[in-house]
Symmetry: C2
Subunit: 460 residues, 2 copies
């Protein structure tokens, strides 16, 4: 049987999985410092819970099947709809409910290179808050998270669905078509203005030759949308002046409030910009929308996105529960971090080699002794008896040191420590490096067995 | 639309989700200290990858559906089969491959109270190691994890499939029926000896009235199995003596090796016992099998289980990759911990109340100031203007302190700190407690604004 992943799915091997854990624990710590509480929901939901008013176009992206009770169920495609279910389902949660959740979501999209059908979102949301304080808090928490992850320079681009609704009105387009317009505008960065214009009007053929029908808007409609899209971006107060002039103060009152709060916490336009071209693709947004782009790595698209969704919880309850959230795309961050050098990598501090098969207990005892003082210690468990093969293994484990105890060392009560990283500057080439390690004498030393813990702790 | 979970699925609300994170990060730290590397595999696999030789009886428990390419896919039911796929798929992993993985698995079982269709396993495995050093390492890592979680007293019960195979032979049962016998023996603790005997012979009706067909063994077969099951349990050397006598040394050579290694690392029979009644239900085990039971909480069943599976990887490759693993059932641990008092609970250090709507920026600045020195700080984001409702909120957030700044305090440059936990000893009754907090003066004090950080850090 051929070992392979389902099309569109992938494994995270130790290097990536280790880095992903790092990202997640960093974000978790920041969100907890902001007073957000954790939540976990199942991977599966009833299909109608997920669908709601979600457009027909998007239902194709859902992995759906039947429960053992023959009911329609599906894998969740985001963490926001399950949150809306949760706040409607339990009446004893704190209100506002500030929660974070990290987990897999699944979309039956056409897989692209770098685009997978299962990916991890790290969401932070406030449910039950209408004040722009909530926007300021989630933006501040995401900015702090991304800074602590050291992903490089980034900008949070902010716009508002209220502004976009005013644009639809200003452009002479009927409000029922607003969501379709937003979904097309959301693709602007990806497909460019020319293709956006085709999708707004007569339609176009995409790169795989499929026809994407157009919205059938007329020239006046499109001219006015383009007039809006040509507004300046970046400097918040400048953008607000222009929008106020074109569309009226009421359209941007949320962003005026938000701008003031962001000023108060020292987030300037260099880090949180207002950007009229941001739309976001999901139907449920009703107010400010955000997305984060990496300044020097535009190829990764947006690494986080979110916005205000005041009506989503109404799908499940009559209670008025205005909400705002921000979702970090952990896989995109992971891909972006992969281009950085000098980060902590998966691996161990020490590999203990096994030279004497009749002294297994002694090696095992030593391993536990090192672990007990906080040294990440691997003991070679394979069947290779030779030092060379075991050294190759230690290298693959990205070990900093090897600890070698042969019959000689056992007799004398000593151990040999070998510095496996000393060779790194000598050569990046694996074969040369191995050769270097083999010959090199100055990177290893024999020390008394009872001095091992102290010396390793000093070296690490 | 009614907000509800799919039958057999549940949400983890903040209290449980917080505790689960605690469990997972504790285990992760221990496993990394043992030199295990992280791995992540998708929730979905091709159905035939999962099924392999897995018995027809168990295939019903798999959630299966179709990929967008119309191929048979399914949700993983454990993390071991995906690991076997991974080690066969990539030839550049370290060998032996020591990995840990934590994630959801799904089984379309009949849901029971406390038994869910999605649950979290935390697995640790060594692939490519035939020595009992590997068993000693995974057992040692699990013991250390459970100790660090402080789950209370527990025993790792160990047996071996080689012993059980010898029992099948000794009892005059044909080897093809061995796996069926083991699946029934595995239920011993749950259904009792009488029902095990019925399932081995003529079958029985279960509590829901369904008939479970028997294996059709005869009296001699059963008498010999019962003779074996009546052997002493616990003290390892004593058990080994008895097994050696009844079934011969060859059946327990693995456990003789393991016993010696466990002695070396100070794990006595009080913590790792040999127990002839342990069988484990999965087909793929070939050598030692383990399960962990809580001494004072037998109602939670086994909280971890595992064993050696030397042939599983052969499903995907010709390479000889003997393996051993141990899986911790995170949800069962969670349930067990829930019965303990005095553990750290989800919550925040401080809730800042909002008294003056025109000073939002000041509250926001203060919140970030506290967060920056490591104080978990929540800012009230709701629409309630009154202190009483905001205090109720702080209570639900399990906050230790409330920070109150009204117009008075703003004018004087002070803040009021209220100790929300001081009332806990006064009363556990929510209504009385609220009353107490309202009246109590000695639990709150007004201090200079610029002394807040210092005083809070002292108090926390």
């Amino acid at each position: 049987m051929e070992p392979q992943n389902v099309k569109g799915f992938r494994d995270l091997r130790p290097r990536e999985a280790y880095r992903k854990n790092e990202i997640i624990s960093t974000i978790r710590k920041v969100y907890e410092s902001y007073g957000f509480l954790p939540l976990e929901t199942p991977g599966l939901e009833y299909l109608d819970i997920l669908l709601g008013e979600y457009g027909e176009e998007n239902t194709k992206q859902i992995f759906r099947f039947k429960s053992p009770e023959e009911q329609q169920i599906a894998l969740r495609f985001d963490l926001t709809v399950p949150l809306a279910r949760v706040v409607a389902q339990y009446n004893d949660l704190p209100k506002p409910f500030k929660r974070y959740q990290v987990g897999s979501v699944w979309r039956a999209d056409k897989p692209d290179p770098g685009r997978f059908r299962e990916f991890t979102q790290f969401d932070v949301d406030v449910v039950g808050a209408s004040s722009q304080l909530a926007e300021a808090e989630v933006i501040s928490a995401v900015v702090k998270s991304l800074r602590e992850i050291r992903v490089g320079e980034f900008v949070v681009n902010v716009n508002s669905r209220k502004i976009l609704n005013a644009v639809v009105d200003y452009s002479g387009i009927s409000p029922e078509r607003a969501k379709d317009v937003f979904r097309i505008l959301d693709k602007l960065n990806k497909i460019g203005m020319e293709n956006v214009e085709l999708e707004l009007t007569k339609g176009r053929y995409d790169t795989s030759g499929d026809f994407i029908p157009g919205l059938g808007l007329d020239d006046t409609n499109v001219r006015k949308i383009k007039e809006y899209l040509a507004l300046p971006k970046g400097e918040r107060k400048k953008v607000l002046t222009e929008i106020r002039e074109l569309l009226g103060e009421q359209s941007c009152i949320d962003l005026i409030n938000l701008d003031e709060l962001l000023d108060a916490i020292g987030l300037g336009s260099d880090i949180v910009a207002f950007n009229p071209t941001i739309a976001r693709g999901l139907d449920y947004y009703t107010g400010p929308v955000f997305e984060v782009n990496l300044k020097d790595k535009p190829q990764f698209g947006s690494v986080a996105g979110g916005g205000r969704y005041d009506n989503l919880v109404k799908r499940f309850t009559d209670a008025e529960l205005p909400a705002v959230g921000f979702s970090i795309g952990v896989d995109r961050l992971l891909a972006a971090l992969d281009t950085q050098v000098g980060r902590q990598e998966a691996g161990v501090d020490v590999v203990i080699t096994i030279m004497e098969q009749d002294r297994l207990s002694d090696y095992l005892k030593l391993a536990n002794e090192l672990r007990n003082v906080g040294i990440k210690t691997d003991l070679y468990l394979g069947s290779e008896k030779g030092l060379r093969k075991q050294m190759q293994y230690a290298d693959k484990m990205n070990a900093k040191f090897a600890v070698i105890i042969g019959s000689n060392e056992f007799e004398k009560g000593t151990v040999t420590i070998k510095d496996l990283k000393a060779g790194e500057s000598a050569s990046k080439d694996a074969a040369q490096r191995e050769d270097w390690l083999k010959k090199s004498r100055e990177v290893q030393k024999e020390i008394p067995r009872n001095d091992l813990v102290r010396q390793l702790k000093d070296l690490l």
